[in-house]
């Protein structure tokens, strides 16, 4: 029984939060990796793109709520999501037309594009703060739990409860659907195939008559969708605060690099690697250990490897280890 209790505690405090967080990171890293694969630069504005998409979604959610439109037990934000994606896609296409296209035609060095993306980051950050402010916004509604800890205890008779928040379930399901759609798009459709060709070898792709402008536009739209979905899911699960989204840049980049920049499959794997390491290193294992070990060996301390304040250090250390030992990442990404 104790082993079961330990397992449930592990699922409740490590596995499920890690799975939800990993899905959010994976979606964010997919956006970064797509832009890197096609446009060949690290987009520092991605965190703020996520913040922008989430902000639009929140505003539309509030509007829906004021009109009495709900989504039953599910968060209303899911209904508002398409509006957020559309607005973000429009913003990114506009940014590309006004800013990035010039440097693309010039064939500017990737570092210059990174600095340009810093400027875009400033602008987006300013817009978001101007419209919604810097405060925490909580916009999750609908049913709070799929299973509460109490229900689980009466159902199974265990002393340890398992709670699954609706937002966690929504996160995992939505992320799964989004990734499935993205892979279907990249593997099966003509546009998706031309994107992969463009990513593999730009010159060859141009030679075979692929329209680069179209590829770039579709990339921005997909990146906008990924960023907005990732941002909204993160905001539902935790809360929305512009500065937190800027800080998400580090774990997202870590995920994309760990998986291999430019590789969509790698981005997903990287997202889960980063998320699970972060949760496992900062979780206090005392509870699990108390169930597993005999009473005489019960631990005194919290058995926490690092305090949660250092979660950045975890993604950073993994990033550095990967950079040193396998610079192209787990899935052999690009290394230009």
């Amino acid at each position: 029984m104790d082993i079961l209790n330990a397992l449930v505690a592990f699922l409740n405090f490590v596995f499920i939060p890690g799975l939800a967080y990993g899905s959010q990171l994976a979606l964010g890293a997919l956006g970064v990796t797509l832009i890197y694969g096609i446009l060949r630069f690290s987009n520092f504005a991605h965190g703020d793109t996520m913040a922008f998409g989430t902000m639009v979604t929140i505003l539309v959610t509030w509007w829906f709520q004021s009109m009495g439109i709900g989504f039953g037990p599910l968060p209303t934000a899911l209904l508002a999501l398409p509006f957020g994606i559309a607005a973000t896609a429009a913003l990114l296409l506009l940014t590309d037309r006004a800013v990035y296209r010039f440097y693309r035609k010039q064939k500017a060095a990737p570092t210059i594009l990174v600095i340009v993306s810093l400027g875009v980051m400033f602008v987006m950050n300013g817009i978001v703060r101007l419209i919604i402010g810097v405060e925490d916004q909580n916009f999750a509604d609908g049913a709070r739990f799929l299973i509460t800890a109490g229900d689980f205890k009466t159902m199974t008779g265990l002393t340890e409860g398992l709670a699954i928040k609706t937002t966690q379930a929504v996160t995992v399901v939505t992320a799964g659907l989004t990734v499935a759609f993205l892979f279907w798009f990249l593997q099966k459709t003509r546009t998706g195939k031309s994107m992969r060709a463009f990513s593999d070898n730009e010159d060859l792709a141009l030679l075979s008559g692929i329209n680069p402008d179209r590829v770039v536009q579709v990339t921005w739209i997909l990146a906008a969708a990924m960023a907005t979905i990732a941002g909204v899911l993160y905001g539902l699960d935790k809360s929305f605060k512009p500065f937190t989204y800027f800080q998400l840049l580090l774990p997202i980049f870590a995920a994309a690099i760990v998986g291999g920049l430019g590789s969509p499959l790698g981005a997903i794997a990287g997202g889960f690697v980063i998320a699970f390491s972060e949760v496992m290193v900062t979780y206090a294992w005392k509870k699990v250990a108390t169930y597993l070990l005999p009473d005489s060996m019960a631990p005194d301390g919290l058995l926490q490897l690092m305090s949660t304040d250092y979660k950045f250090a975890v993604s950073f250390s993994i990033l550095i280890l990967v950079l040193i030992f396998m610079p192209t990442g787990l899935f052999k990404g690009k290394s230009v």
């Binding site: 630069f41 690290s42 520092f44 800013v99 010039f102 990737p110 570092t111 210059i112 990174v114 600095i115 340009v116 810093l118 400027g119 875009v120 980051m121 400033f122 602008v123 987006m124 950050n125 300013g126 817009i127 703060r129 101007l130 419209i131 402010g133 810097v134 800027f246 800080q247 840049l249 580090l250 980049f253 870590a254 690099i257 490897l305 305090s307 304040d309 250092y310 950045f312 250090a313 993604s315 950073f316 990033l319 550095i320 950079l323 040193i324 610079p327 290394s335 230009v336």
Partner: protein
């Protein structure tokens, strides 16, 4: 050159105009000192980016280390804390360093294979637990001592002027560590790695209370010689008489005098650093650096060790940023890790370098003064302007929201300026010669 003189004359006129028309002299000097210290940081970034093309987004971290150096050098030691756990903390840190050194040594000595990987992991895991076992009780003991005002080890109790070079040294040490691992990889990786290390440095400073009291903040009592206190000036009869003769009220006069003293000290450091960098830039060493930046392969073919040179310049630039960070903290008289924000400390400095002209030290200075002025003046004038714009609107939530959000306008402004300069004048206001 004459065009550059006009530009600097324009900046001087701008600050005079600010003092005479827009705000008080006190406020103007505050902006000027801020802009000058930021110029020194911009100089550091310019050394890295302009001379060698290294993309460092960790300015915030190096500046924070400079601030930490002020506490470590200047504040008084806490003897009880040292006897309670000082030795334990030092031993713990030494164990941690030893573990890393041993791992590196082991990896160099053993042949590649499963045995080496296992030994590495075992060494790191064992070292980590040993470190925690020694370090944690010592930290608890130190933080338990008089936690409302102390709870830290304190510093060396030395004059604060020594903290400025110490800040440079601390930043240089961190730069050596990060440069050893991230340099030689592709250019964006350095950017991401430095972004991360800066966040970690600030996280450590926020949470390690034994070091500098973390977010509980550290009040620094000492002032660097020869800068007096405002309060002691206000009690000095000779100063009061002088102020009265000139027709100033003593409170604002004292703070103007203190800021002027700081200004002189910053100008001395700034002048020294610009002189040194100009000398370096025009020496064979500077020519080699630019050659490496412009064509790494050619420089390599000439037998230059590019990665090693990059490491040197990365350390030098970071040290300059560390010095500026130490100056900023000693000027503020308080170390609050919560104020270290990447937008303000890293990306603003980048805007200064790009606007001023990368690769040119005078450009970094000009950019620092202009952008620093804009950054703070928008804070002062923004709500006023927004109030003027919305004066005709009926009072309500929308109007108050607009007035409140005016302070965020500056992020937008900075971003637009950066994008416009990159697009239409990518070499900046004073281009590289």
């Amino acid at each position: 050159m004459s065009k550059n003189l006009y530009l600097f004359a324009g900046v001087v006129a701008l600050f005079l105009f600010t003092g005479l028309v827009l705000t008080s002299w006190n406020q103007t000097l505050l902006i000027l000192n801020f802009a000058l210290v930021s110029s020194i940081m911009a100089l550091g970034v310019n050394i890295q980016w302009g001379y060698a093309g290294l993309f460092n987004t960790g300015v915030m971290g190096f500046a924070a280390l400079g601030g930490l150096a002020v506490v470590l050098v200047n504040s008084r030691p806490v003897p009880e804390a040292w006897s309670a756990g000082g030795f334990g903390i030092l031993a713990g840190l030494a164990l941690g360093a030893l573990t890393i050194a041993a791992t590196i040594f082991l990896r160099r000595r053993m042949v590649k294979g499963r045995a080496r990987s296992l030994a590495t992991v075992a060494l790191l895991v064992g070292g980590f637990f040993l470190f925690r076992a020694v370090f944690d009780p010592a930290v608890d003991a130190v933080e338990a001592i008089n936690p409302t005002i102390q709870g830290n080890l304190g510093g060396l109790g030395l004059p604060v002027l020594l903290a400025w070079p110490a800040g440079g040294l601390l930043a240089a040490l961190a730069a050596w560590g990060i440069g050893k691992t991230a340099l030689g990889l592709r250019s964006d990786y350095l950017a991401i790695a430095t972004l991360g290390i800066a966040e970690i440095i600030v996280a450590v400073m926020k949470n390690e209370d034994w070091l500098a009291r973390g977010v509980k903040m550290m009040d620094l009592k000492e002032r660097p010689w020869p800068v007096p206190y405002e309060v002691s000036l206000q009690q000095n009869p000779r100063f009061l008489e002088l102020a009265a003769n000139w027709g100033f009220d003593p409170v604002s006069a004292s703070s103007v005098v203190v800021k002027l003293c700081y200004m002189v000290m910053i100008l001395i450091v700034l002048g020294l650093l610009i002189w040194l960098s100009e000398r370096a830039l025009n020496s064979p060493w500077g020519r080699m650096m630019r050659a490496i930046r412009d064509n790494e392969d050619a420089a390599r073919a000439m037998g230059k060790d590019v990665t090693k040179k990059h490491l040197h310049i990365f350390i030098l630039g970071s040290a300059v940023i560390g010095i500026a960070g130490a100056m900023l903290t000693s000027m503020d008289g308080i170390l609050n890790p919560g104020t270290y924000q990447p937008l303000r400390f890293t990306f603003l400095i980048w805007v200064m370098v790009i606007v001023g002209g990368s690769g040119n030290n005078w450009g970094a200075l000009l950019g620092g003064l202009l952008v620093g002025w804009l950054w703070l003046i928008v804070e002062t004038l923004g709500p006023m302007v927004m109030g003027g714009i919305t004066a005709g609107m009926a009072p309500g939530p929308l109007k108050s929201h607009l007035v409140d959000s005016a302070q965020h306008m500056r992020l937008l402004t900075m971003g637009i300026i950066l994008l416009l300069v990159l697009r239409f004048s990518p070499r900046g206001l004073i281009p590289e010669k």
